[in-house]
């Protein structure tokens, strides 16, 4: 069965799986960014316990394979009385891991700001939270568009971990299993999914470059 037949036979559900992948990518990336900001604020806060918690958090989720975390969520959490839907497990895992990498990106953005601007902000009387809000976060976001674009693409590819749990509708990689178990079009389905991933990544990369040019801070 060729690529064309895959479309005629599974077109509808394929479309759903593309949307499923896109939606999960968006949710996971947005959640990861937010949590990454929280972790980063903790890591630069004046309170040592907060800094330690932030650092441990990032080390933990940056260094654990997604599949291990997913196993914990799916198989271990029920022992603790928390049985979450498969999709929730997957999204939570990806968010945790993305947030750790996002925080590392933010930290590099913060290092680029330079202590002088922070001192200037302090000396006009801005509080810690105001400095974070008005100086640190906007500059850090605007200097890390390119690494964040990389992270967005990585998020997209990490949602493929959804193929390891039953999702309805499946995402792009799970879709390959779905097709493969119903017809002999495994290779074709792989090709279609790969094209969807690659196409999305190329578009995201292009948009990331555009955004970077627009918001990059002239230094």
């Amino acid at each position: 069965m060729g690529v064309a037949e895959v479309f005629t036979e599974f077109g509808d559900i394929y479309l759903q799986s593309v949307l499923s992948t896109w939606l999960m990518t968006a949710v996971c990336f947005a959640g990861g960014l937010l949590l990454g900001i929280v972790a980063t604020v903790m890591r630069v806060s004046p309170l040592k316990p907060l800094r330690v918690v932030g650092d441990v958090y990032v080390q933990l989720f940056r260094n654990i394979p997604t599949v291990s975390l997913l196993v914990i969520f799916v198989y271990a959490l029920p022992y603790l009385g928390a049985t979450l839907p498969y999709r929730t497990c997957l999204i939570a895992c990806v968010i945790l891991i993305v947030s750790a990498f996002a925080s590392e990106n933010f930290m590099s953005g913060i290092n680029a700001i330079g202590v002088g601007q922070i001192e200037a902000a302090r000396s006009i009387g801005l509080s810690f939270t105001q400095i974070i809000r008005h100086v640190v976060i906007p500059q850090s976001l605007r200097t890390t568009v390119l690494p964040m674009t990389n992270l967005l693409i990585a998020t997209l590819l990490t949602t493929a971990m959804g193929s390891q749990v039953p999702l309805k509708p499946p995402e792009l990689t799970g879709m390959v299993n779905y097709v493969n178990s119903r017809s002999v079009a495994g290779i074709s389905a792989f090709v279609v999914s790969a094209i969807c991933y690659a196409g999305t990544s190329v578009v995201l990369g292009f948009l990331g470059n555009l955004l970077d040019k627009k918001v990059r801070i002239i230094r």
Partner: protein, 250 residues
């Protein structure tokens, strides 16, 4: 404060500070009166910048005390931020907010700290920018300005807070020679208008012209202090004589 505070604006009493093994401030005692311009000079590493930075607690001290308008500097938090809002600070490296326009650099303090309406803050910011001669740059970002222009914006940013005193930490040391005067002119004007100023600088002409008092530091100590004419023409200590000899011709 209901009543106008009449005593010295800045008082430092027996201030000591170490950077690790290095004793950078040794028993510093200094008072700055309202409207006074005090210039700190001395060889590099003498502790003059550190002294300047302790006054708004960008550097902490190990012992002794620093009072601003008769009140001891708060340790941290809201009180410290409120105090810093009353003390202007101008840095060697300008330190403008790179992501903000010139206008927004000047309005950030008034809007966020003093909670002034944006329109009002912008109008005053434009006046201040005009006063330091960079009004036509208001819509640009810092990197598009020359060093001298950036430093003048930094002064306007401080002035927008209506500070009770201003600290200048080597404000012209990072500037190309032809831009030094445009910044010094603004500072001279400020001094004339009665601003209380503590200035760390290597600009001896400025010190002679503007300072009420020159404080000479070496090895973390205040070695001598005097009026500029007395200090430059009749230095008392060997350290000061050596220092003045070493910079002759500059």
């Amino acid at each position: 404060m209901a009543e106008e505070y009449a005593g010295p604006i800045i008082q430092m009493r027996h201030v000591d500070k170490h950077f690790g093994q290095l004793h950078v401030l040794k028993d510093i005692n200094l008072e700055v009166a309202k409207g006074e311009v005090v210039v700190l000079i001395g060889p590099s590493g003498s502790g003059k910048s550190t002294l300047c930075r302790t006054i708004n607690r960008l550097e902490t001290i190990d012992s002794g005390e620093i009072l601003f308008q008769g009140v001891k500097l708060p340790e941290e938090g809201k009180e410290l931020a409120a105090l810093r809002a009353e003390i202007g600070m101008v840095f060697q490296s300008f330190n403008l907010f790179a992501h903000k326009t010139i206008l927004d650099n000047v309005t950030m303090g008034p809007v966020e700290v003093l909670h002034r309406p944006r329109k009002e803050a912008e109008a005053e910011a434009m006046e201040l920018l005009a006063r330091v001669g960079v009004a036509e740059q208001a819509a640009k970002v810092p990197a598009q300005l020359s060093g001298g222009q950036q430093q003048r914006v930094a002064i306007a940013r401080s002035l927008a807070m209506h500070p009770k005193a201003m600290l200048f930490d080597e404000p012209t040391s990072a500037l190309d020679p032809e831009m030094i005067n445009e910044v010094l002119d603004v500072m001279v004007e400020l001094a004339r208008q009665g601003m209380t100023m503590v200035v760390v600088t290597h600009e001896m002409n400025f010190a002679r012209r503007v300072a009420n008092r020159v404080v000479f530091m070496a090895d973390g100590q205040i070695v001598e202090q005097n009026t500029p004419d007395e200090f430059f023409d009749h230095p008392q200590s060997e350290r000061a004589k050596d220092f003045l000899d070493s910079i002759k011709g500059h």
